[in-house]
Protein backbone atom coordinates (compact mmCIF):
# COMPACT_ATOMS: atom_id res chain seq x y z
CA UNK A 1 0.00 0.00 0.00
CA UNK A 2 2.80 2.38 0.92
CA UNK A 3 4.49 1.39 -2.31
CA UNK A 4 1.36 2.45 -4.14
CA UNK A 5 1.44 5.79 -2.41
CA UNK A 6 5.10 6.27 -3.27
CA UNK A 7 4.32 5.25 -6.81
CA UNK A 8 1.57 7.85 -6.90
CA UNK A 9 3.90 10.42 -5.42
CA UNK A 10 6.58 9.48 -7.93
CA UNK A 11 4.11 9.90 -10.78
CA UNK A 12 3.31 13.33 -9.46
CA UNK A 13 7.00 14.13 -9.53
CA UNK A 14 7.33 12.84 -13.08
CA UNK A 15 4.97 15.53 -14.20
CA UNK A 16 7.45 18.24 -13.19
CA UNK A 17 8.20 20.64 -16.03
CA UNK A 18 11.77 21.11 -14.78
CA UNK A 19 14.59 18.74 -15.68
CA UNK A 20 14.78 15.86 -13.23
CA UNK A 21 17.52 13.60 -11.91
CA UNK A 22 17.81 11.05 -9.12
CA UNK A 23 18.32 12.26 -5.57
CA UNK A 24 19.41 9.75 -2.95
CA UNK A 25 19.01 10.32 0.78
CA UNK A 26 21.03 8.14 3.12
CA UNK A 27 20.30 7.97 6.85
CA UNK A 28 22.67 6.35 9.34
CA UNK A 29 23.11 6.28 13.10
CA UNK A 30 26.31 7.50 14.85
CA UNK A 31 27.85 4.05 14.31
CA UNK A 32 27.21 4.24 10.60
CA UNK A 33 24.45 1.64 10.65
CA UNK A 34 21.54 2.28 8.28
CA UNK A 35 18.34 3.69 9.78
CA UNK A 36 15.13 2.43 8.24
CA UNK A 37 11.64 3.92 8.49
CA UNK A 38 12.89 7.50 8.47
CA UNK A 39 10.53 9.67 6.41
CA UNK A 40 12.36 12.11 4.13
CA UNK A 41 10.63 14.86 2.22
CA UNK A 42 12.12 17.00 -0.50
CA UNK A 43 10.80 20.56 -0.78
CA UNK A 44 12.20 22.14 -3.95
CA UNK A 45 12.17 25.90 -3.95
CA UNK A 46 9.95 28.07 -6.09
CA UNK A 47 8.17 26.73 -9.14
CA UNK A 48 9.67 23.25 -8.75
CA UNK A 49 7.57 22.53 -5.67
CA UNK A 50 4.66 20.21 -6.30
CA UNK A 51 2.02 18.94 -3.92
CA UNK A 52 1.43 15.26 -3.40
CA UNK A 53 -1.50 13.77 -5.22
CA UNK A 54 -4.30 11.96 -3.48
CA UNK A 55 -3.61 8.28 -3.11
CA UNK A 56 -6.00 5.36 -3.43
CA UNK A 57 -7.61 3.67 -0.48
CA UNK A 58 -5.36 3.81 2.59
CA UNK A 59 -5.97 1.44 5.48
CA UNK A 60 -4.57 1.36 9.03
CA UNK A 61 -6.07 -1.73 10.62
CA UNK A 62 -6.04 -2.95 14.21
CA UNK A 63 -5.08 -6.58 14.60
CA UNK A 64 -3.61 -8.43 17.61
CA UNK A 65 -3.74 -5.16 19.59
CA UNK A 66 -1.40 -3.43 17.11
CA UNK A 67 -1.86 -0.92 14.32
CA UNK A 68 -0.91 -2.20 10.86
CA UNK A 69 1.14 -0.66 9.38
CA UNK A 70 3.09 1.11 12.10
CA UNK A 71 4.04 3.94 9.72
CA UNK A 72 1.95 5.27 6.84
CA UNK A 73 2.65 8.13 4.44
CA UNK A 74 -0.34 9.83 2.86
CA UNK A 75 -0.78 13.02 0.84
CA UNK A 76 -2.78 15.94 2.18
CA UNK A 77 -6.44 15.29 1.46
CA UNK A 78 -6.22 11.53 1.94
CA UNK A 79 -8.97 9.47 3.55
CA UNK A 80 -7.68 6.73 5.84
CA UNK A 81 -9.93 3.93 7.05
CA UNK A 82 -9.37 2.21 10.38
CA UNK A 83 -10.93 -1.27 10.32
CA UNK A 84 -10.94 -3.18 13.61
CA UNK A 85 -9.93 -6.81 13.01
CA UNK A 86 -9.56 -7.63 16.71
CA UNK A 87 -12.21 -9.40 18.78
CA UNK A 88 -12.10 -6.49 21.25
CA UNK A 89 -13.24 -2.88 20.83
CA UNK A 90 -10.83 -0.05 20.05
CA UNK A 91 -11.00 3.68 20.64
CA UNK A 92 -8.52 5.22 18.21
CA UNK A 93 -7.45 8.80 18.82
CA UNK A 94 -4.85 11.43 18.00
CA UNK A 95 -3.88 14.55 19.92
CA UNK A 96 -1.47 15.70 17.18
CA UNK A 97 -1.72 19.26 15.88
CA UNK A 98 -1.91 17.98 12.30
CA UNK A 99 -5.11 16.11 13.08
CA UNK A 100 -6.99 15.77 16.35
CA UNK A 101 -9.65 13.09 16.21
CA UNK A 102 -11.33 10.40 18.23
CA UNK A 103 -13.00 7.23 16.93
CA UNK A 104 -15.08 6.11 19.88
CA UNK A 105 -15.52 2.42 20.61
CA UNK A 106 -15.91 0.35 17.50
CA UNK A 107 -16.00 -3.42 17.44
CA UNK A 108 -14.64 -6.26 15.32
CA UNK A 109 -15.15 -5.88 11.58
CA UNK A 110 -16.33 -2.29 12.00
CA UNK A 111 -14.40 0.55 10.40
CA UNK A 112 -14.18 4.32 10.61
CA UNK A 113 -12.68 6.76 8.11
CA UNK A 114 -10.77 9.98 8.80
CA UNK A 115 -9.95 12.75 6.34
CA UNK A 116 -6.46 14.30 6.69
CA UNK A 117 -6.42 17.86 5.35
CA UNK A 118 -3.26 19.26 6.97
CA UNK A 119 0.40 18.27 6.57
CA UNK A 120 2.27 16.96 9.60
CA UNK A 121 2.85 13.91 11.75
CA UNK A 122 -0.19 12.28 13.34
CA UNK A 123 0.53 10.02 16.32
CA UNK A 124 -2.15 7.37 16.80
CA UNK A 125 -3.15 5.70 20.06
CA UNK A 126 -5.96 3.61 21.52
CA UNK A 127 -7.76 4.83 24.62
CA UNK A 128 -8.43 1.23 25.68
CA UNK A 129 -5.04 -0.35 24.93
CA UNK A 130 -2.26 2.04 25.86
CA UNK A 131 0.47 -0.09 24.27
CA UNK A 132 -0.94 0.53 20.77
CA UNK A 133 0.90 3.21 18.80
CA UNK A 134 1.39 4.13 15.15
CA UNK A 135 2.12 7.16 12.97
CA UNK A 136 0.67 8.71 9.86
CA UNK A 137 2.83 11.24 8.02
CA UNK A 138 0.64 13.58 6.02
CA UNK A 139 2.76 15.16 3.34
CA UNK A 140 2.28 18.16 1.10
CA UNK A 141 5.21 17.38 -1.19
CA UNK A 142 5.23 15.01 -4.15
CA UNK A 143 8.69 13.80 -3.08
CA UNK A 144 8.23 11.93 0.18
CA UNK A 145 9.58 8.47 0.94
CA UNK A 146 10.72 6.26 3.80
CA UNK A 147 14.19 4.81 4.10
CA UNK A 148 14.58 1.11 3.40
CA UNK A 149 16.63 -1.48 5.29
CA UNK A 150 19.79 0.01 3.79
CA UNK A 151 18.82 3.43 5.15
CA UNK A 152 18.20 4.73 1.62
CA UNK A 153 15.36 6.71 0.10
CA UNK A 154 15.49 7.63 -3.57
CA UNK A 155 13.62 10.16 -5.65
CA UNK A 156 14.27 9.05 -9.21
CA UNK A 157 12.88 12.23 -10.69
CA UNK A 158 13.73 14.98 -8.20
CA UNK A 159 13.75 18.40 -9.84
CA UNK A 160 17.15 19.82 -10.58
CA UNK A 161 16.57 22.78 -8.33
CA UNK A 162 17.69 24.02 -4.92
CA UNK A 163 15.54 23.18 -1.93
CA UNK A 164 15.62 21.40 1.40
CA UNK A 165 15.21 17.84 2.65
CA UNK A 166 13.29 17.32 5.89
CA UNK A 167 13.76 14.13 7.90
CA UNK A 168 11.44 12.68 10.55
CA UNK A 169 11.60 9.41 12.46
CA UNK A 170 9.29 8.11 15.23
CA UNK A 171 12.21 7.86 17.67
CA UNK A 172 14.38 10.76 16.47
CA UNK A 173 16.33 12.70 19.11
CA UNK A 174 16.09 16.24 17.76
CA UNK A 175 14.50 19.48 18.82
CA UNK A 176 11.18 19.82 17.08
CA UNK A 177 11.26 16.12 16.25
CA UNK A 178 12.79 16.61 12.80
CA UNK A 179 16.02 17.54 10.96
CA UNK A 180 16.53 19.34 7.69
CA UNK A 181 19.30 20.09 5.20
CA UNK A 182 19.56 22.46 2.30
CA UNK A 183 19.99 20.93 -1.16
CA UNK A 184 21.88 22.82 -3.83
CA UNK A 185 20.90 22.76 -7.45
CA UNK A 186 22.54 19.73 -9.03
CA UNK A 187 23.22 18.02 -5.70
CA UNK A 188 22.36 14.35 -6.12
CA UNK A 189 22.83 12.94 -2.63
CA UNK A 190 22.06 13.95 0.91
CA UNK A 191 23.29 12.26 4.08
CA UNK A 192 21.89 12.40 7.60
CA UNK A 193 23.43 11.05 10.77
CA UNK A 194 20.75 10.69 13.43
CA UNK A 195 20.46 9.60 17.04
CA UNK A 196 17.39 7.53 17.94
CA UNK A 197 15.71 6.73 21.23
CA UNK A 198 15.08 3.04 21.82
CA UNK A 199 11.52 2.12 20.85
CA UNK A 200 9.15 2.01 23.83
CA UNK A 201 8.27 -1.50 24.98
CA UNK A 202 5.04 -2.84 23.54
CA UNK A 203 3.94 -4.31 26.87
CA UNK A 204 0.48 -3.53 28.12
CA UNK A 205 -0.14 -2.05 31.56
CA UNK A 206 -2.78 -4.76 32.00
CA UNK A 207 -5.84 -2.68 31.61
CA UNK A 208 -9.36 -4.03 31.64
Amino acid sequence: MVRNILFTLALAGAASPLSAAPLTVRVVDPSGRPVHDAVVTLYPAGNAARPARAAGRVVVSQKDLKFHPFLTIVPVGADVSFPNLDPTKHHVYSFSAAKKFELRLFAKDQSRTVHFEKAGVVALGCNIHDQMAAFIVVTDSAWTARTNAQGLAQFADAPNAPGRVVLWHPYLRASGGQLQQAVASGQRSVGFQVRLRPPPPAMAMQDY
Binding site: H91, Q110, N127, P198, M205
Partner: protein, 413 residues
Protein backbone atom coordinates in the same frame (compact mmCIF):
# COMPACT_ATOMS: atom_id res chain seq x y z
CA UNK B 1 -40.52 -1.24 25.08
CA UNK B 2 -40.60 -4.58 23.29
CA UNK B 3 -39.99 -2.89 19.95
CA UNK B 4 -37.06 -0.98 21.36
CA UNK B 5 -35.46 -4.16 22.66
CA UNK B 6 -36.15 -5.93 19.38
CA UNK B 7 -34.44 -3.12 17.48
CA UNK B 8 -31.42 -3.28 19.76
CA UNK B 9 -31.23 -7.04 19.30
CA UNK B 10 -31.78 -7.08 15.59
CA UNK B 11 -29.21 -4.80 14.09
CA UNK B 12 -25.97 -2.99 14.62
CA UNK B 13 -26.13 0.13 16.74
CA UNK B 14 -26.63 3.30 14.80
CA UNK B 15 -23.84 5.83 14.51
CA UNK B 16 -25.88 8.31 16.53
CA UNK B 17 -26.02 6.21 19.70
CA UNK B 18 -23.41 4.45 21.78
CA UNK B 19 -26.04 2.40 23.61
CA UNK B 20 -25.42 -1.26 22.79
CA UNK B 21 -27.27 -3.60 25.10
CA UNK B 22 -28.00 -6.74 23.12
CA UNK B 23 -25.95 -6.44 19.95
CA UNK B 24 -23.80 -9.39 18.89
CA UNK B 25 -20.59 -7.85 20.21
CA UNK B 26 -22.16 -7.45 23.67
CA UNK B 27 -21.91 -11.20 24.27
CA UNK B 28 -19.06 -13.67 24.63
CA UNK B 29 -19.35 -17.37 25.26
CA UNK B 30 -16.43 -19.53 26.30
CA UNK B 31 -16.12 -23.03 27.64
CA UNK B 32 -13.98 -26.14 27.79
CA UNK B 33 -14.11 -29.89 28.00
CA UNK B 34 -11.19 -31.85 29.36
CA UNK B 35 -9.88 -35.32 29.98
CA UNK B 36 -8.38 -35.55 33.47
CA UNK B 37 -6.06 -38.23 34.85
CA UNK B 38 -5.25 -37.76 38.54
CA UNK B 39 -3.95 -39.79 41.45
CA UNK B 40 -3.52 -39.05 45.15
CA UNK B 41 -5.93 -37.93 47.87
CA UNK B 42 -9.58 -36.83 47.83
CA UNK B 43 -10.02 -33.34 46.41
CA UNK B 44 -10.91 -30.29 48.51
CA UNK B 45 -14.03 -29.78 46.35
CA UNK B 46 -15.38 -33.01 47.87
CA UNK B 47 -14.45 -32.04 51.41
CA UNK B 48 -10.96 -33.53 51.40
CA UNK B 49 -7.51 -32.00 51.79
CA UNK B 50 -6.54 -32.50 48.12
CA UNK B 51 -5.03 -29.45 46.48
CA UNK B 52 -6.24 -29.98 42.93
CA UNK B 53 -9.60 -29.51 41.26
CA UNK B 54 -10.00 -33.27 40.90
CA UNK B 55 -9.09 -35.92 43.39
CA UNK B 56 -8.82 -39.67 43.78
CA UNK B 57 -8.49 -42.15 46.63
CA UNK B 58 -4.94 -43.18 46.01
CA UNK B 59 -5.31 -44.87 42.63
CA UNK B 60 -5.14 -43.31 39.17
CA UNK B 61 -8.49 -42.02 37.92
CA UNK B 62 -9.19 -40.97 34.35
CA UNK B 63 -12.39 -39.03 33.63
CA UNK B 64 -13.79 -36.81 30.89
CA UNK B 65 -15.08 -33.59 32.45
CA UNK B 66 -16.91 -30.46 31.62
CA UNK B 67 -14.55 -27.67 32.74
CA UNK B 68 -15.84 -24.10 32.95
CA UNK B 69 -18.46 -22.40 30.81
CA UNK B 70 -18.83 -18.62 30.95
CA UNK B 71 -21.39 -16.37 29.33
CA UNK B 72 -20.21 -12.75 29.34
CA UNK B 73 -22.59 -9.85 28.79
CA UNK B 74 -20.81 -6.56 28.04
CA UNK B 75 -23.49 -3.92 27.51
CA UNK B 76 -22.30 -0.46 26.48
CA UNK B 77 -24.40 2.22 28.16
CA UNK B 78 -22.50 5.10 26.57
CA UNK B 79 -19.17 5.29 24.81
CA UNK B 80 -17.38 5.60 28.16
CA UNK B 81 -19.73 3.72 30.49
CA UNK B 82 -20.23 -0.02 30.24
CA UNK B 83 -20.78 -3.11 32.33
CA UNK B 84 -19.51 -6.65 32.54
CA UNK B 85 -21.71 -9.44 33.84
CA UNK B 86 -20.34 -12.99 33.85
CA UNK B 87 -22.33 -16.13 34.57
CA UNK B 88 -20.26 -19.28 34.98
CA UNK B 89 -20.78 -23.00 35.28
CA UNK B 90 -18.12 -25.19 36.89
CA UNK B 91 -18.29 -28.83 35.84
CA UNK B 92 -16.61 -31.91 37.20
CA UNK B 93 -16.96 -32.86 40.85
CA UNK B 94 -19.76 -30.78 42.48
CA UNK B 95 -21.14 -29.08 39.36
CA UNK B 96 -22.61 -25.64 40.07
CA UNK B 97 -23.53 -22.46 38.24
CA UNK B 98 -23.92 -18.85 39.27
CA UNK B 99 -22.81 -15.26 39.00
CA UNK B 100 -19.06 -14.82 38.67
CA UNK B 101 -18.59 -11.05 38.20
CA UNK B 102 -20.92 -8.05 37.76
CA UNK B 103 -19.48 -4.55 37.59
CA UNK B 104 -19.74 -1.20 35.87
CA UNK B 105 -16.79 0.20 33.92
CA UNK B 106 -16.02 3.85 33.24
CA UNK B 107 -13.28 4.82 30.83
CA UNK B 108 -13.41 8.45 29.66
CA UNK B 109 -11.12 9.81 26.99
CA UNK B 110 -7.62 10.40 28.30
CA UNK B 111 -6.34 13.94 28.42
CA UNK B 112 -2.83 14.13 27.07
CA UNK B 113 -0.72 11.73 29.09
CA UNK B 114 -3.27 11.27 31.88
CA UNK B 115 -5.82 8.46 31.71
CA UNK B 116 -8.50 7.73 34.29
CA UNK B 117 -10.68 4.65 34.60
CA UNK B 118 -12.98 3.17 37.21
CA UNK B 119 -14.89 0.00 38.03
CA UNK B 120 -17.57 -0.69 40.62
CA UNK B 121 -19.26 -3.93 41.57
CA UNK B 122 -18.45 -7.58 42.12
CA UNK B 123 -15.02 -8.23 40.64
CA UNK B 124 -11.56 -9.64 41.19
CA UNK B 125 -8.94 -7.10 42.22
CA UNK B 126 -6.05 -6.66 39.75
CA UNK B 127 -3.68 -9.20 41.30
CA UNK B 128 -3.21 -12.00 38.77
CA UNK B 129 -0.65 -11.95 35.96
CA UNK B 130 -2.08 -15.23 34.66
CA UNK B 131 -5.74 -14.38 33.99
CA UNK B 132 -7.13 -12.58 30.99
CA UNK B 133 -10.40 -11.42 29.47
CA UNK B 134 -13.81 -10.63 30.88
CA UNK B 135 -14.34 -14.32 31.68
CA UNK B 136 -11.09 -14.27 33.71
CA UNK B 137 -9.68 -17.36 32.01
CA UNK B 138 -6.15 -18.62 32.60
CA UNK B 139 -4.12 -17.52 29.60
CA UNK B 140 -1.21 -19.93 29.13
CA UNK B 141 -2.27 -23.03 31.05
CA UNK B 142 -5.33 -24.72 32.55
CA UNK B 143 -4.47 -24.40 36.23
CA UNK B 144 -3.34 -21.09 37.74
CA UNK B 145 -0.68 -20.76 40.41
CA UNK B 146 -1.43 -21.25 44.11
CA UNK B 147 -1.58 -17.48 44.58
CA UNK B 148 -4.07 -16.84 41.80
CA UNK B 149 -6.11 -19.94 42.68
CA UNK B 150 -6.61 -18.42 46.12
CA UNK B 151 -7.49 -15.02 44.67
CA UNK B 152 -10.05 -16.77 42.47
CA UNK B 153 -11.70 -18.64 45.32
CA UNK B 154 -11.53 -16.25 48.31
CA UNK B 155 -10.61 -12.72 47.20
CA UNK B 156 -13.44 -11.29 45.13
CA UNK B 157 -15.05 -8.38 46.97
CA UNK B 158 -17.68 -5.83 46.03
CA UNK B 159 -15.49 -2.81 45.34
CA UNK B 160 -15.41 0.71 43.96
CA UNK B 161 -12.07 1.13 42.20
CA UNK B 162 -10.39 4.06 40.50
CA UNK B 163 -7.17 4.04 38.47
CA UNK B 164 -5.04 6.76 37.01
CA UNK B 165 -2.27 6.21 34.48
CA UNK B 166 0.36 8.67 33.35
CA UNK B 167 3.73 8.72 31.65
CA UNK B 168 6.49 10.60 33.48
CA UNK B 169 9.12 10.87 30.76
CA UNK B 170 9.39 7.52 29.04
CA UNK B 171 8.17 5.66 32.12
CA UNK B 172 4.60 4.48 32.63
CA UNK B 173 2.86 4.54 35.98
CA UNK B 174 -0.56 3.28 36.93
CA UNK B 175 -2.03 3.84 40.40
CA UNK B 176 -5.11 1.94 41.49
CA UNK B 177 -7.08 2.25 44.72
CA UNK B 178 -10.38 0.76 45.86
CA UNK B 179 -12.76 0.64 48.79
CA UNK B 180 -14.41 -2.73 49.22
CA UNK B 181 -16.76 -4.86 51.27
CA UNK B 182 -18.39 -8.31 51.39
CA UNK B 183 -15.11 -10.20 51.58
CA UNK B 184 -14.98 -10.68 55.36
CA UNK B 185 -14.50 -14.46 55.32
CA UNK B 186 -11.39 -14.31 53.15
CA UNK B 187 -8.75 -16.45 54.90
CA UNK B 188 -11.04 -19.31 55.97
CA UNK B 189 -10.01 -21.69 53.18
CA UNK B 190 -6.42 -20.51 53.44
CA UNK B 191 -6.33 -21.61 57.09
CA UNK B 192 -8.38 -24.80 57.17
CA UNK B 193 -7.41 -26.23 53.78
CA UNK B 194 -4.28 -24.24 52.96
CA UNK B 195 -3.06 -23.42 49.48
CA UNK B 196 -4.49 -25.16 46.41
CA UNK B 197 -4.07 -25.13 42.62
CA UNK B 198 -7.27 -25.15 40.56
CA UNK B 199 -9.37 -23.05 38.17
CA UNK B 200 -12.64 -23.38 40.06
CA UNK B 201 -13.40 -19.78 41.02
CA UNK B 202 -15.95 -18.63 43.58
CA UNK B 203 -19.54 -17.95 42.52
CA UNK B 204 -21.62 -15.26 44.20
CA UNK B 205 -23.63 -16.50 47.21
CA UNK B 206 -22.24 -20.03 46.79
CA UNK B 207 -20.36 -21.77 49.56
CA UNK B 208 -16.93 -23.36 49.42
CA UNK B 209 -16.47 -26.63 51.37
CA UNK B 210 -13.87 -26.97 54.13
CA UNK B 211 -11.94 -30.12 55.01
CA UNK B 212 -12.79 -31.91 58.27
CA UNK B 213 -12.27 -29.55 61.25
CA UNK B 214 -10.73 -30.58 64.59
CA UNK B 215 -11.89 -29.66 68.07
CA UNK B 216 -12.44 -27.02 69.30
CA UNK B 217 -12.79 -25.28 65.93
CA UNK B 218 -15.57 -27.61 64.85
CA UNK B 219 -17.78 -26.18 67.63
CA UNK B 220 -17.68 -22.57 66.47
CA UNK B 221 -16.90 -22.61 62.75
CA UNK B 222 -19.36 -23.62 60.01
CA UNK B 223 -18.08 -26.53 57.84
CA UNK B 224 -18.15 -24.22 54.82
CA UNK B 225 -17.38 -20.63 53.87
CA UNK B 226 -19.16 -18.01 51.75
CA UNK B 227 -16.42 -15.84 50.23
CA UNK B 228 -18.98 -13.15 49.33
CA UNK B 229 -20.16 -12.16 52.79
CA UNK B 230 -20.25 -9.12 55.04
CA UNK B 231 -19.99 -10.13 58.71
CA UNK B 232 -20.51 -7.45 61.31
CA UNK B 233 -20.34 -3.71 60.92
CA UNK B 234 -20.83 -3.53 57.19
CA UNK B 235 -19.41 -1.42 54.42
CA UNK B 236 -20.19 2.07 55.73
CA UNK B 237 -18.52 1.59 59.10
CA UNK B 238 -15.60 -0.63 58.23
CA UNK B 239 -14.73 -0.68 54.53
CA UNK B 240 -11.71 -2.63 53.40
CA UNK B 241 -9.34 -1.40 50.73
CA UNK B 242 -6.80 -2.45 48.17
CA UNK B 243 -4.22 -0.43 46.30
CA UNK B 244 -1.73 -1.08 43.55
CA UNK B 245 1.21 0.65 41.90
CA UNK B 246 2.35 -0.57 38.48
CA UNK B 247 5.54 0.81 36.99
CA UNK B 248 6.93 0.20 33.54
CA UNK B 249 10.37 1.73 32.89
CA UNK B 250 11.55 2.28 29.29
CA UNK B 251 12.24 -1.43 28.99
CA UNK B 252 9.98 -4.45 28.43
CA UNK B 253 9.44 -5.06 32.12
CA UNK B 254 6.59 -4.19 34.48
CA UNK B 255 6.79 -4.17 38.27
CA UNK B 256 3.68 -4.20 40.44
CA UNK B 257 3.11 -3.73 44.17
CA UNK B 258 -0.27 -4.58 45.65
CA UNK B 259 -1.79 -4.36 49.13
CA UNK B 260 -5.12 -5.76 50.34
CA UNK B 261 -6.76 -5.34 53.74
CA UNK B 262 -10.38 -6.36 54.25
CA UNK B 263 -10.41 -4.73 57.72
CA UNK B 264 -12.94 -7.32 58.87
CA UNK B 265 -13.80 -7.57 62.56
CA UNK B 266 -12.24 -10.88 63.70
CA UNK B 267 -14.70 -11.14 66.58
CA UNK B 268 -17.83 -10.73 64.44
CA UNK B 269 -19.85 -13.86 63.73
CA UNK B 270 -23.21 -14.50 62.10
CA UNK B 271 -25.96 -17.00 62.93
CA UNK B 272 -24.41 -19.60 60.59
CA UNK B 273 -21.11 -19.48 62.51
CA UNK B 274 -19.26 -17.73 59.75
CA UNK B 275 -16.71 -15.30 61.13
CA UNK B 276 -15.05 -12.11 60.11
CA UNK B 277 -11.42 -12.85 59.24
CA UNK B 278 -9.13 -9.86 59.32
CA UNK B 279 -7.00 -10.62 56.28
CA UNK B 280 -4.22 -8.51 54.92
CA UNK B 281 -1.62 -9.30 52.28
CA UNK B 282 1.05 -7.67 50.14
CA UNK B 283 2.23 -8.77 46.74
CA UNK B 284 5.15 -7.94 44.47
CA UNK B 285 4.89 -9.02 40.85
CA UNK B 286 7.13 -8.81 37.79
CA UNK B 287 6.34 -9.39 34.13
CA UNK B 288 9.10 -9.13 31.53
CA UNK B 289 9.66 -9.87 27.87
CA UNK B 290 13.09 -11.42 27.49
CA UNK B 291 13.32 -11.49 23.70
CA UNK B 292 12.48 -14.13 21.08
CA UNK B 293 8.94 -14.23 22.47
CA UNK B 294 10.10 -15.47 25.87
CA UNK B 295 8.01 -14.03 28.72
CA UNK B 296 8.78 -14.16 32.44
CA UNK B 297 6.18 -13.72 35.15
CA UNK B 298 6.53 -13.93 38.90
CA UNK B 299 4.31 -13.12 41.88
CA UNK B 300 5.32 -13.23 45.55
CA UNK B 301 2.58 -12.79 48.14
CA UNK B 302 2.64 -12.79 51.90
CA UNK B 303 -0.10 -12.01 54.36
CA UNK B 304 -1.78 -12.69 57.67
CA UNK B 305 -5.31 -13.62 58.67
CA UNK B 306 -6.77 -13.51 62.20
CA UNK B 307 -10.08 -14.70 63.59
CA UNK B 308 -11.72 -15.05 67.04
CA UNK B 309 -11.33 -13.35 70.38
CA UNK B 310 -8.05 -12.31 71.92
CA UNK B 311 -8.08 -13.84 75.41
CA UNK B 312 -4.45 -14.77 75.98
CA UNK B 313 -2.68 -12.21 73.86
CA UNK B 314 -3.35 -14.32 70.79
CA UNK B 315 -6.52 -14.67 68.74
CA UNK B 316 -7.99 -18.14 68.24
CA UNK B 317 -6.54 -18.17 64.75
CA UNK B 318 -3.47 -16.24 63.63
CA UNK B 319 -2.23 -17.54 60.28
CA UNK B 320 0.67 -16.10 58.32
CA UNK B 321 0.73 -17.27 54.71
CA UNK B 322 3.04 -16.78 51.77
CA UNK B 323 3.63 -18.10 48.28
CA UNK B 324 5.80 -17.47 45.24
CA UNK B 325 5.70 -18.62 41.65
CA UNK B 326 7.90 -18.08 38.63
CA UNK B 327 6.64 -18.76 35.13
CA UNK B 328 8.31 -18.85 31.73
CA UNK B 329 6.35 -19.02 28.49
CA UNK B 330 7.45 -18.95 24.86
CA UNK B 331 5.98 -19.83 21.49
CA UNK B 332 7.70 -22.54 19.45
CA UNK B 333 6.11 -22.33 16.01
CA UNK B 334 2.37 -22.74 16.53
CA UNK B 335 2.71 -24.18 20.03
CA UNK B 336 3.24 -22.14 23.19
CA UNK B 337 5.11 -23.89 25.99
CA UNK B 338 4.76 -22.77 29.60
CA UNK B 339 6.56 -23.92 32.73
CA UNK B 340 5.84 -22.77 36.28
CA UNK B 341 7.19 -23.49 39.75
CA UNK B 342 5.21 -22.72 42.92
CA UNK B 343 6.27 -22.72 46.56
CA UNK B 344 3.85 -22.06 49.43
CA UNK B 345 3.41 -22.32 53.18
CA UNK B 346 1.26 -21.21 56.10
CA UNK B 347 2.25 -20.79 59.78
CA UNK B 348 -0.48 -20.93 62.41
CA UNK B 349 0.21 -19.47 65.84
CA UNK B 350 -3.31 -18.89 67.15
CA UNK B 351 -4.49 -19.93 70.62
CA UNK B 352 -6.84 -22.60 69.15
CA UNK B 353 -5.21 -23.37 65.84
CA UNK B 354 -1.53 -24.17 65.97
CA UNK B 355 1.11 -25.68 63.78
CA UNK B 356 -0.91 -28.85 63.13
CA UNK B 357 -2.73 -26.72 60.52
CA UNK B 358 0.52 -25.53 58.91
CA UNK B 359 0.66 -26.15 55.19
CA UNK B 360 3.95 -26.36 53.31
CA UNK B 361 4.56 -27.50 49.77
CA UNK B 362 5.57 -26.92 46.19
CA UNK B 363 4.20 -27.54 42.71
CA UNK B 364 5.57 -27.82 39.19
CA UNK B 365 3.52 -27.33 36.03
CA UNK B 366 4.26 -27.77 32.35
CA UNK B 367 1.74 -26.86 29.64
CA UNK B 368 1.60 -26.83 25.84
CA UNK B 369 -1.05 -24.74 24.10
CA UNK B 370 -2.08 -24.33 20.49
CA UNK B 371 -4.68 -21.88 19.18
CA UNK B 372 -6.99 -22.22 16.22
CA UNK B 373 -9.45 -19.45 15.41
CA UNK B 374 -12.20 -20.11 18.00
CA UNK B 375 -10.48 -23.07 19.68
CA UNK B 376 -7.46 -23.78 21.86
CA UNK B 377 -5.98 -27.15 22.76
CA UNK B 378 -4.01 -27.38 26.01
CA UNK B 379 -2.14 -30.30 27.56
CA UNK B 380 -0.99 -29.73 31.14
CA UNK B 381 1.02 -31.82 33.57
CA UNK B 382 0.88 -30.68 37.21
CA UNK B 383 2.56 -32.19 40.24
CA UNK B 384 2.02 -30.94 43.77
CA UNK B 385 3.65 -32.07 47.01
CA UNK B 386 2.50 -30.77 50.39
CA UNK B 387 2.61 -31.52 54.09
CA UNK B 388 0.12 -30.74 56.85
CA UNK B 389 -0.23 -32.61 60.14
CA UNK B 390 -4.01 -32.38 60.42
CA UNK B 391 -4.34 -34.93 57.61
CA UNK B 392 -3.52 -37.55 60.25
CA UNK B 393 -6.90 -36.91 61.92
CA UNK B 394 -8.48 -38.27 58.73
CA UNK B 395 -6.13 -41.27 58.54
CA UNK B 396 -3.87 -39.76 55.90
CA UNK B 397 -0.12 -39.34 55.79
CA UNK B 398 0.88 -35.71 56.49
CA UNK B 399 2.92 -35.65 53.27
CA UNK B 400 0.80 -36.08 50.15
CA UNK B 401 1.82 -36.00 46.51
CA UNK B 402 -0.52 -35.67 43.57
CA UNK B 403 0.03 -35.68 39.82
CA UNK B 404 -2.59 -34.55 37.34
CA UNK B 405 -2.48 -34.77 33.54
CA UNK B 406 -5.16 -32.83 31.67
CA UNK B 407 -6.00 -32.41 27.99
CA UNK B 408 -8.42 -29.56 27.35
CA UNK B 409 -10.31 -28.26 24.34
CA UNK B 410 -11.26 -24.62 24.94
CA UNK B 411 -13.82 -22.79 22.80
CA UNK B 412 -14.81 -19.13 22.58
CA UNK B 413 -17.34 -17.13 20.58
Amino acid sequence: MGCAFAALWAGPASAETDLRLFTRDAFELSGDVRLVAVDGEKGWVNGGFGKLRSGSNGDLRVRPQLGNISLVWKPQLSWSLGAIVVGSLHGGQRTEAGLSQAYLTFKPMRSGRLAFSARAGLMWPPVSLEHDGADWHVKDSITPSAINSWIGEEVRPVAAEGAIAFNPGRHKLRLTAALMAANDTSGTLMTFRGWALHDRTTLAFHRQPLPPLDEPVVFYQAPYTHPLLDVGAGFAERPGYYAKVAWQPPAPVRIELFRYDNRANPEAVNDDLEWGWHTRFDQAAVAAELGSGLEFKAQALQGRTRMGTDETGRRWIDNRFRSLFVLLTRPFGTVRLTARLDAFDTRNRGSDVGDEYDDKGWAAMFAAKRDWDHFSGIVELLHVSSRREDREESGLEPRQRQTQLQAELRMRW
